[in-house]
């Protein structure tokens, strides 16, 4: 079991701040960096790899400061979102290359054995003599992953490794990666912009937003109890509905609907408005219980995905929300539609700071 400790890392590019005071402890197994594009995931990985020097702060591996260790001497492997392999080398040579240049000398037989082991693990055995350009995208990324694993580095960085693959391959490779990494002792840092992927891994996650780690914990816990709007957005797929609401005397107004909202978190506090959030899947077209609140809105757009339909509806106030409906249903444009939600499923965020005020009932442990 090894640990990687980031202590107060900050990065400035000229007068611009890129990273703010990042502290985190990552241990063996998969650690997720979750956040939208440009949230700083790649930059943080480059900092850990040593490709970028932090302006302040330090990085320690098992207690030893590695901030000043040269990139090539760090026990790190990196897989980029783009399939980066050595184009002039064969698949075999690609996987073997980190071993060939390793400070610890490996015999030819040893290297060949390790390459074959990696190839077998990632299903590349039939392609060892080919050049990367002669492989499909998924296979190219497998080569990159095999190369990253070949040297048994202490830290393996995977920067959105599946983002450029099609859906089916992504599902398949993700499942494989999970089983591969569960056997490795390495600290695997895996970044993703997709909440569903994070929830699927169900492991230690760090939510990033605008160069900060805003929340750390198990993916599902973050999903249930995001610290703020940014964390809720980063972990919600489809995107969470957010509507500014006013509140007084335990009654809230959500769009054009006024209803009873009883939450111990806000009782007795002087709050007159907040942002209410609700997952699109929590809004239904039939009442689900006695405390369901009914509302009506106009259909703007219906997106049909394979298993569900996203209906964009608009209130008289001009505000829009998205409803996720199971299965594929057809909707007429401008059709009026009745929707139902349960006040217990609502998130509440501070209007100004975005900080969470309350979570859906039942999510509090």
């Amino acid at each position: 079991m090894s640990t990687l400790e980031l202590k107060n890392i900050a990065l400035h590019d000229g007068a611009e701040d890129v990273m703010y005071d990042i502290s985190a402890t990552m241990s063996s197994g998969i650690n997720l960096l979750v956040g939208p594009t440009l949230s700083g995931k790649t930059t943080l990985m480059r900092l850990i790899a040593g490709l970028v020097k932090p302006s302040s702060g330090s990085i320690a591996l098992d207690g030893a400061d590695i901030s000043n260790v040269a990139v090539k001497d760090r026990s790190v492997a990196f897989v980029y979102q783009q399939f980066i392999n050595y184009p002039s080398l064969t698949v075999f040579e690609n996987i073997a290359s980190p071993l060939k240049v390793d400070k610890v000398k490996h015999s030819k037989e040893e290297i060949a054995a390790r390459v074959e082991e990696m190839a077998k693990l990632l299903g590349l055995s039939p392609f060892l003599k080919r050049k990367p350009s002669e492989l499909s995208g998924g296979q190219q990324q497998r080569v990159a992953i095999a190369r990253a694993l070949a040297r048994k580095s202490d830290i393996v960085l995977l920067d959105e490794p599946l983002a450029n693959l099609d859906y089916k391959l992504r599902e398949q490779l993700r499942a494989e990666l999970q089983s591969i990494f569960s056997e490795e002792n390495a600290i695997v840092i895996y970044s993703t912009a997709e909440p569903s992927e994070a929830l699927d891994f169900a492991t230690n996650s760090f939510v990033m937003s605008e160069g900060r780690i805003i929340q750390a914990g198990k993916a599902l816990d973050i999903y249930k109890q995001p610290v703020n709007v940014a964390a809720a957005k980063a972990m919600a797929d489809p995107p969470i509905n957010l509507l500014p609401s006013s509140y007084s005397n335990q009654r809230a107004i959500f769009a054009n609907k006024e209803f009873q909202l009883e939450r111990p978190e806000i009782i007795g506090k002087e709050i007159s408005n907040f942002t209410l959030g609700i997952q699109p899947g929590k809004i239904t077209l039939q009442p689900t219980g006695s405390n369901s609140i009914e509302f009506s809105a106009e259909v703007q757009l219906a997106e049909v995905t394979g298993s569900s339909t996203f209906v964009h509806v608009k209130f008289e106030t001009g505000q829009e929300i998205v409803i996720e409906v199971e299965g594929t249903e057809t909707f007429e444009l401008d059709q009026r539609l009745k929707g139902y939600f349960n006040p217990d499923d609502l998130y509440g965020f501070d209007v100004n700071t975005g900080k969470s005020i309350f979570f859906p009932k039942g999510s509090v442990n």
């Binding site: 480059r46 790899a49 490709l51 990139v71 090539k72 001497d73 760090r74 790190v76 492997a77 990196f78 980029y80 783009q82 980066i84 050595y86 184009p87 002039s88 080398l89 290359s97 980190p98 240049v101 390793d102 400070k103 190369r147 040297r151």
Partner: protein
């Protein structure tokens, strides 16, 4: 059914006619272009008396005397070898200097990098004659006068900027992540550069080498000025062939043919890279 056949046949006819016209034009242009070369080859295979007495493109009497003379006379074969020596030397040296320079321009940002990059090209804007006097004096002082190395160095003045310019385009075509991956994998820079990076831009290097060779090979003014007898280029030798008996047409033609050959060989070697290279780079 019949109508379809008829139309397709008619279509074929017109298209074949078109292709014919095009290929005729092509051969016509090729003939116009090839004529001077053919004439040169023809003259080199005839005696002086024959050249002056009768007008013919295809020689009726072939003689290899002038070629024999070319290879036997040390002033001819010597200057020919001089040209080849300094051209090759220049190509190799220019590439050695330009590769790291182009890498720096392609991979790093430093203050004034864009201006410096453009300034390199401006070196080509001054006529070679501008540099004649300083070179002449400088080379006398540095004992480089009349040496192949001296000519090679002088030609680097305009060849290195060109090489940097071409190579930078090719290098920028290689994603920077590749450099980083190699660094993360533990490659020492030198090893990465030689075993991974260079093979990736080999078509660019081929194209660059072609240009370096070509410009150095055809350059006459500088090469002639900073040489006397030891490193005299073939082109200079060709301008000094008027003797008491007049021009030696046949020998001069033979020298001309010999001068074309290295270029042909170089093009033959880089022909596969040229098309690919021009598409990739931004020459």
């Amino acid at each position: 059914m019949t109508t379809t056949i008829a139309t397709s046949a008619a279509g074929k006819k017109t298209s074949r006619f078109r292709i014919d016209l095009r290929s005729w034009l092509f051969w016509l242009i090729m003939a116009v272009w090839a004529l001077p070369v053919a004439w040169l080859v023809s003259m080199s295979l005839r005696d002086n008396a024959d050249i002056l007495s009768s007008f013919e493109v295809i020689p009726s009497k072939i003689s290899l005397n002038s070629y024999a003379q070319f290879f036997e006379d040390p002033s001819w074969i010597g200057s020919y070898m001089n040209s080849i020596t300094y051209t090759l030397l220049n190509t190799v040296l220019s590439l050695l200097v330009a590769l790291p320079a182009a890498y720096a321009f392609s991979r790093y940002t430093f203050s004034g990098d864009k201006h410096l990059f453009f300034w390199l090209l401006t070196n080509r804007m001054a006529p070679a004659a501008v540099f004649l006097l300083p070179f002449f004096q400088l080379y006398q002082a540095a004992n480089l006068f009349d040496t192949p190395l001296g000519v090679a160095l002088a030609h680097m003045l305009f060849n290195v900027p060109l090489a940097v310019w071409i190579l930078e385009g090719f290098m920028s075509g290689v994603p920077k992540q590749l450099d980083e991956i190699a660094e993360v994998d533990g490659y020492r820079f030198g090893r990465f550069f030689l075993t991974i990076f260079i093979p990736m831009i080999r078509s660019g290097i081929g194209v660059t080498a072609f240009f370096l060779f070509m410009f150095s090979w055809v350059e006459l003014l500088i090469a002639r000025t900073i040489t006397a007898t030891q490193a005299k280029p073939i082109a200079a030798q060709m301008t000094r062939t008027i003797s008491a008996s007049g021009l030696d047409w046949s020998l001069l033609s033979a020298a001309g043919v010999m001068t074309i050959i290295p270029g042909v060989i170089v093009i033959w070697f880089v022909r596969n890279y040229i098309a690919k290279g021009f598409a990739l780079g931004r020459v």
